[in-house]
């Protein structure tokens, strides 16, 4: 296998290739056009590009898929962000009367970033991740995906790897896109259990009775906790991290546990002791005590950036954008197999560009098709592009995206049918 190590210096050379032959424009457009149910939905959408040397251009918008393609191929953005659907075309925002240019709709989005877990992971810090701490993202996806579907009744969730150290979720249901800012922040707060900044030690407080949503989330955490927290992070195995855990239990329990820990070194059994203490306390204390659950949640529960979810006009990195630092493509995550998702297996732009250059297996067939396609050039370039990404490791991620789009298409069909029925009636 040829070396496909990514070098940021090559990005200017690779991007044109990526946008010309690999970026899945057709699917991308189909997604953001939402079946054409609402007029100008795609046309009024804001895109923003980060170009070479951190030049940042906001309020881009495109009238069609081909215009989007042309512009992206011309500008070769280092990073693409998606913003809201506005009342007017974003690229004309300067020409409309101030105040009337307003963000109307956007997917409900969530951003979970590993840097927010620095106080509870010992394997890495800041922008680094490893397979150990990636479990935190798996837990986050499982908990939020369940709640957004079961509690809030959403169906069309697109989970995307950010390309470096986190995941994004795009809730694409019509009802989600229409939520007010107040509703978005209410949803985000419903889903947030970790409270407080650097001046707060104990970040989770449960009250009695435990809400069904928290109980469901705890089930997920319990599943991962022994392997992830006790083994991989070894939170009860080292003096320093052990103290951090003990800071989260009531004073009297802490003393008792400290004594026990003098003798007991095994992390699993130490945890068992914490559970036993919690049980004991629950039976005797006036106010219910849930410190063992609170510890589990503080170490594993998803940490949302509420500000990203709140605003209708907040920008979020687009799927299939390239991460300029790692070169990895921001790819959709297959939810049926979320435990197996490996961020390090996500292809980099250098890898897929290299894969393009390998000899094609279906060369002959392709040639004959090319000659046939002369009458309809547009068609054949389109086809070639499809064949192109299919020859790379991007293919399977585009397939997940296709599956997601198929699910949404069903809901558009219903909508369009209703609309045409209505038209007939009049």
């Amino acid at each position: 296998m040829p070396s496909s190590a990514y070098d940021p210096a090559c990005l200017p050379d690779l991007l044109p290739l990526y946008y010309r032959r690999l970026f899945p424009f057709a699917q991308y457009y189909r997604w953001l056009n939402y079946g054409g149910v609402q007029k100008n939905y795609f046309q009024n959408r804001e895109f923003s590009f980060t170009l070479k040397d951190d030049i940042y251009v906001r309020y881009q918008s495109f009238s069609s898929q081909s215009e989007l393609e042309k512009e992206m191929q011309k500008m070769n953005p280092y990073k693409i962000d998606i913003g809201a659907v506005y009342s007017h075309r974003p690229n004309q925002h300067n020409t409309v009367k101030s105040g009337s240019f307003q963000a109307l709709e956007k997917e409900l989005v969530f951003d979970i970033d590993m840097t927010d877990y620095d106080d509870v992971r010992s394997c890495c810090s800041a922008a680094d991740i490893c397979s150990k701490c990636w479990t935190l993202m798996t837990i986050a996806i499982r908990i939020l995906d369940r709640a957004l579907r079961r509690d809030f009744g959403f169906h069309h969730l697109l989970w995307v790897y950010s390309g470096r150290r986190g995941v994004h979720c795009w809730v694409c249901d019509e009802a989600a896109r229409k939520l007010s800012a107040a509703a978005r922040s209410a949803v985000a707060e419903y889903l947030s259990l970790i409270k407080g900044g650097e001046e707060t030690v104990k970040k989770v407080m449960l009250t009695d009775p435990i809400h069904p949503f928290i109980r469901e989330s705890l089930e997920v955490v319990k599943h991962y906790f022994p392997q992830y927290a006790l083994q991989d992070q070894n939170i009860l195995g080292r003096k320093e991290s052990e103290e951090k855990v003990l800071a989260l239990v009531p004073e009297d329990v802490k003393k008792e546990l400290q004594e026990i820990f003098q003798e007991e070194r095994n992390p699993e059994r130490r945890w068992r002791h914490i559970e036993v203490q919690a049980k004991k306390k629950q039976q005797t204390a006036k106010k219910r005590q849930y410190f063992e659950k609170e510890i589990m949640l503080q170490y594993c529960y998803p940490r949302l950036d509420v500000n990203v979810s709140k605003g209708v006009n907040h920008l979020l990195k687009s799927p299939f954008s390239v991460h300029p630092k790692t070169g990895r493509i921001s790819v959709p995550i297959d939810l049926t197999d979320v435990d197996k998702f490996d961020p390090f297996a996500v292809p980099t732009i250098s890898l897929i560009c290299e894969e393009l250059d390998r000899p094609k297996a279906d060369e002959d067939e392709a040639k004959s098709e090319d000659t046939k396609g002369k009458e309809n050039e547009q068609d054949s370039t389109e086809k070639r592009k499809i064949r192109d990404y299919k020859r790379t490791s991007l293919a399977k991620y585009v397939k997940y995206f296709d599956q997601f789009l198929a699910g949404m298409a069903d809901s558009w069909k219903g909508k369009l049918l209703k609309q045409s029925d209505l038209q007939k009636e009049f």
Binding site: D116, D118, A182, K195, E199, T200, P212
Partner: protein, 501 residues
């Protein structure tokens, strides 16, 4: 003033109909002519009432007995409707005054937020005070109908309904009706996880119905204010009303500290010592973090940056201050100019929309944008662990009894009072003559006590000799020269203004 009116047909009937209910949604603007003097007095009275609502909300647990008693008193004093019985005139005043303040408070985001919050709190209190029958009448009259769930559905969900925290109020699932509404209609209950939520619907027990009603009230009011704002130019061209409305809207927080009064009076070298003496804890914490880590995240930069602007840093000083600190950390000068300088100029209204940002009030610091991972902004009385707060207070040499007094206030959620107590203890004054609502106010008051910062020596003196309390207190009563003039202006009573008007 004349509200947009149609026909004065049978005004008395209309009035009787309009004011037949103790509480309304303010759906219809008043249709009558009123005199300018009535206009003024109604507006001033309601403003006083709303300010009381705000103050009570800070000092007491909302809807606790004390809160209710005090609020009821104020409603009576200001002659607004309370209790049952014939009160057409008071209800008329309630109606008209609400609409006048809409005019005054629709102009900016901050004003709208303040007004909506107080009106919603007032409405909540008044709705809760209604008798059961009146509540139903109210719902009926305003077409607020909600679907109840069947006994069977209730049975199926019993366990889940019971563990969604409202049962804490002691009501059994069997004994009450549950309404099923889209979650968008009960955001406050969703936010706080006080209801069971399934497939996008919330299940609300009857005794929480006030939440849906309030949600509705809030939504309508905020829409109405946005509409009013758009039609405002017409009102503002009225020479008699314009100054009046502006005045009304300016008096909600005393001063907003957005106008720079002392530009250039402070040098960058002074900041460290001022931070220790005259900054409230929230700003002291941000300053300390900035010095230690040479960086602050966005929330902290905004909160601290605007505060510094408020105490008199010029744009040039601010740029110098932030750059100096940031480049000692991971940011080089080039990156600073590219990524951060813009937002600082923005704060001073020199970039982008040229909006002149206003320093955050305590209310804003305490309520909006709570700190999360990596953040040091917020209010230490609200957002720090009590244990850490205690340690911090101790390290700032607050006496043990002082610490416990402060923590007691924090426990009762009286964060601003706790801060004020801290002020009293550290400035050695027994009874402050102001009521704290703004970090910049804390600073101004502190400087006043300390004699404009010139008199550092006196401060240390009094700190060492508590028996000199009275001397220090004298200072707060007799601020010197310009300062007192200035203060008098701020605190000038609305009433006197209107008497001359």
């Amino acid at each position: 003033m004349q509200f947009p009116s149609k026909k004065p047909k049978a005004v008395t009937d209309l009035k009787a109909e309009l004011y037949s209910q103790p509480l309304q949604f303010y759906g219809q603007p008043p249709l009558e002519n009123i005199s300018l003097s009535e206009f003024e007095s109604f507006a001033v009275d309601r403003l006083k009432l709303l300010k009381t609502v705000e103050n009570l909300g800070v000092s007491y647990v909302k809807l606790s007995d004390d809160y209710k008693k005090k609020l009821d008193n104020e409603i009576k004093t200001q002659n607004f409707p309370h209790g049952a019985g014939e009160q057409t005139e008071k209800r008329r005043k309630d109606h008209i005054s609400h609409f006048i303040l809409r005019l005054a408070y629709c102009q900016t985001e901050d004003l709208r937020r303040w007004f909506i919050q107080q009106e919603v709190d007032l409405f909540k209190y008044r709705f809760k005070e209604l008798e059961c029958g009146e509540k139903l009448k109210f719902l009926h009259k305003n077409n607020l109908q909600y679907n109840t769930i069947s006994a069977e559905e209730k049975d199926n969900l019993r366990e889940k309904l019971a563990t969604s925290s409202y049962t804490a109020s002691g009501v059994k699932v069997e004994e009450q009706d549950f309404y099923k509404v889209p979650f968008q209609d009960a955001l406050d209950l969703v936010r706080t996880r006080k209801v069971y939520l399934e497939e996008g619907y919330v299940y609300i027990p009857h005794n929480e119905i006030v939440t849906i009603v309030l949600n509705d009230f809030r939504t309508r009011l905020s829409k109405a204010l946005a509409l009013t704002a758009r039609s405002l130019p017409a009102v503002h061209s009225d020479e008699r009303l314009q100054p009046l409305l502006t005045h009304l809207s300016h008096s909600y927080l005393g001063q907003d500290y957005s106008v720079q009064k002392n530009v250039g009076k402070i040098s960058l070298e002074q900041i460290d010592s001022l931070a220790g003496k005259s900054f409230p804890l929230c700003m002291r914490q941000l300053h300390q973090t900035l010095r230690d880590q040479h960086h602050l995240r966005h929330g902290g930069r905004m909160q601290y940056g605007l505060f510094l602007k408020g105490i008199g840093l010029s744009l040039e000083q601010a740029l110098q201050f932030w750059r100096m600190e940031f480049i000692r950390g991971k940011v080089d000068a080039d990156k600073f100019d590219k990524a951060y300088a813009y937002s600082i100029r923005h704060m001073f209204g020199k970039e982008g929309k040229r909006a002149d940002y206003t320093p955050y009030s305590c209310m804003k610091v305490i309520l909006s944008n709570p700190p999360s991972q990596g953040d040091y902004h917020g209010c230490p009385f609200r957002h720090s662990d009590p244990e850490l707060l205690k340690q911090k207070l101790q390290s700032y040499k607050v006496s043990p009894s002082g610490v416990s007094q402060i923590l007691e206030l924090v426990k009762g959620m009286h964060y601003q009072l706790a801060c004020q107590k801290y002020f009293e203890l550290t400035h050695n004054v027994e009874d402050t003559a102001f009521s704290l609502s703004h970090p910049n106010q804390y600073f101004t008051e502190s400087q006043k006590v300390l004699g404009g910062g010139k008199d550092v020596k006196r401060e240390t003196d009094t700190l060492q000799r508590p028996q000199e309390n009275s001397a220090a207190r004298g200072l707060t009563r007799e601020p010197a020269g310009d300062e007192s003039q200035h203060l008098a202006e701020i605190t000038k009573n609305l009433e006197t203004d209107f008497q001359d008007a």
